[in-house]
């Protein structure tokens, strides 16, 4: 079993008062709580903080924890003999036991039939878990499946909680949006004393794509054009999630113009689907050869086009 330094997690001394512990928790919760923090690692950091607070705010759990003594975080340690007695298990049975799970089990008396020091046999529902899953636009377009792994405590015949990993296959519905969630009922933490198991919530996040930006069901794609393509018009190949399509660029197309390709965005569950917008960007070569330079100079001399003509009008 690995030691966790809950005092270090909250940034308090081992002799901190309950009030100090609460104050430290609140400060860190404001910083890392997944509902209020934009820190990409906030959720993981908050889990550590919440776990530490759940143990240290409770006098009995804190005493059990303090009795383990001070050790370096992450150090392997043998469970105290009284824990082994309580669960009729030897030290090796604790190898895959998480410290927080066993402290929680003490508090609730372990699973029905276990030998934990029961403080009451009222049913306790299992914990809900939330897992973030990044999906690609290609997966959303084709509606493929994805595997989601989650680790949750399960109780053996002695009431000892072991961490068990489960993998669930879920189907991504066509047109799923960023932040969309699904609920797998009863796939969270195990309940105790006849309590219901918790639920597993899966939160989809759309992974950033090198070409497309999603806005709802619509997709946006930058379309670089050479100056002559913008002036003279051209037929260009556009990559879409459903394959390449040819787009006719009209002569006189300017930067920033959005060209709509109907129903080439993300599909919707009802079949309507979004559009793909190609946003024109006129790009120029960083270096030109002598002959090209001469042609540009010739063009500059011949052209009557005044790109900033409106400046004069607007400042009169």
């Amino acid at each position: 079993m690995k030691y966790k330094d809950y005092y270090q997690a909250l940034g308090v001394e081992r002799n901190a008062t309950t009030a100090d512990i609460k104050k430290a928790y609140r400060k860190l919760a404001h910083q890392y709580h997944p509902d209020v923090s934009k820190d990409p690692e906030g959720e993981e950091k908050f889990k550590v903080v919440a776990e530490a607070y759940a143990t240290l705010k409770d006098t009995e759990k804190r005493t059990e924890y303090d009795n383990l003594g001070k050790r370096p975080a992450g150090e392997d340690f043998a469970p105290p003999p009284e824990w082994q007695q309580r669960y009729e298990s030897d030290a090796s049975a604790f190898d895959d036991v998480d410290l927080s799970d066993i402290l929680n089990a003490f508090r609730s008396g372990g699973r029905s039939g276990g030998r934990g020091q029961a403080q009451g046999n009222f049913p306790i529902s299992g914990e809900d878990y939330a897992v973030n899953v990044a999906v690609s636009l290609e997966q959303i377009y084709s509606g493929g499946g994805t595997d989601v792994a989650v680790e949750a405590p399960e109780f053996d015949e002695h009431g000892l909680p072991h961490r068990v990993s489960h993998t669930y296959r879920v189907t991504i519905p066509k047109g799923a949006m960023d932040g969309q969630r699904l609920r797998l009922a009863g796939k969270g933490g195990a309940g105790r004393n006849g309590g219901k198991p918790g639920d597993l919530y899966i939160v989809l996040t759309i992974a950033s794509h090198p070409l497309y930006r999603a806005n709802g069901l619509d997709l946006y794609l930058d379309l670089p054009l050479a100056p002559w393509e913008a002036v003279l018009g051209a037929a260009v190949e556009i990559p879409t999630l459903g394959g390449n399509v040819e787009l006719n660029i009209k002569p006189g197309t300017s930067s920033g113009q959005r060209l709509r390709l109907a129903k080439r965005g993300l599909p919707s569950p009802n079949g309507a689907g979004g559009d793909l917008y190609a946003v024109v960007q006129i790009v120029v070569p960083k270096e030109v050869g002598k002959s090209e330079q001469a042609l540009y100079e010739q063009l500059a001399a011949a052209s009557t086009f005044r790109a900033r003509e409106h400046f004069a009008k607007e400042t009169k």
């Binding site: 609140r26 919760a29 404001h30 709580h33 509902d35 209020v36 919440a50 529902s125 809900d128 595997d147 489960h166 993998t167 669930y168 296959r169 879920v170 519905p173 799923a176 969309q180 969630r181 699904l182 609920r183 797998l184 009922a185 796939k187 639920d199 919530y201 899966i202 930006r213 999603a214 806005n215 709802g216 619509d218 946006y220 930058d222 920033g256 959005r258 569950p269 917008y277 946003v279 960007q281």
Partner: protein, 112 residues
């Protein structure tokens, strides 16, 4: 590795559920849920129809309310205020990401 194909429910605006279901899956009391309905954080599909029905996406809101209540030890008014502000932030972020999507990927600037 064993892969389990499991039953799941998408929490979006297509499916509906009852107030009891929202309470059950979130852990909010009926009174707490009632307060969130009263202030418009959770909105029934049709407030004239009884029993009330709610889009399944409100499971997420109800869960957030319970988490805020527990993790920050907020009272009902605190939860309601936090949810209202979070909804405004969500709306603004949605607008911001829509604007960002319409803008070019490449932005170059230079001093002259």
């Amino acid at each position: 590795m064993t892969v389990t194909v499991s039953e799941w429910i998408w929490l979006n605006d297509h499916g509906v559920c009852s107030a009891e279901h929202l309470s059950e899956v979130s852990g909010l009391s009926n009174e707490e849920l009632g307060e969130l309905i009263d202030i418009g954080v959770i909105v029934p599909v049709d407030d004239k129809v009884r029993p009330m029905e709610f889009q399944l996406r409100y499971v997420v809101i109800a869960n957030t309310a319970r988490r805020l209540r527990d993790d920050f030890e907020l009272d009902r008014h605190g939860v309601a205020l936090a949810l209202t502000l979070m909804r405004r932030i969500d709306d603004l972020q949605e607008e911001l990401s829509a604007v960002r999507a319409r803008l070019h990927h490449v932005h170059t600037s230079r001093d002259v």
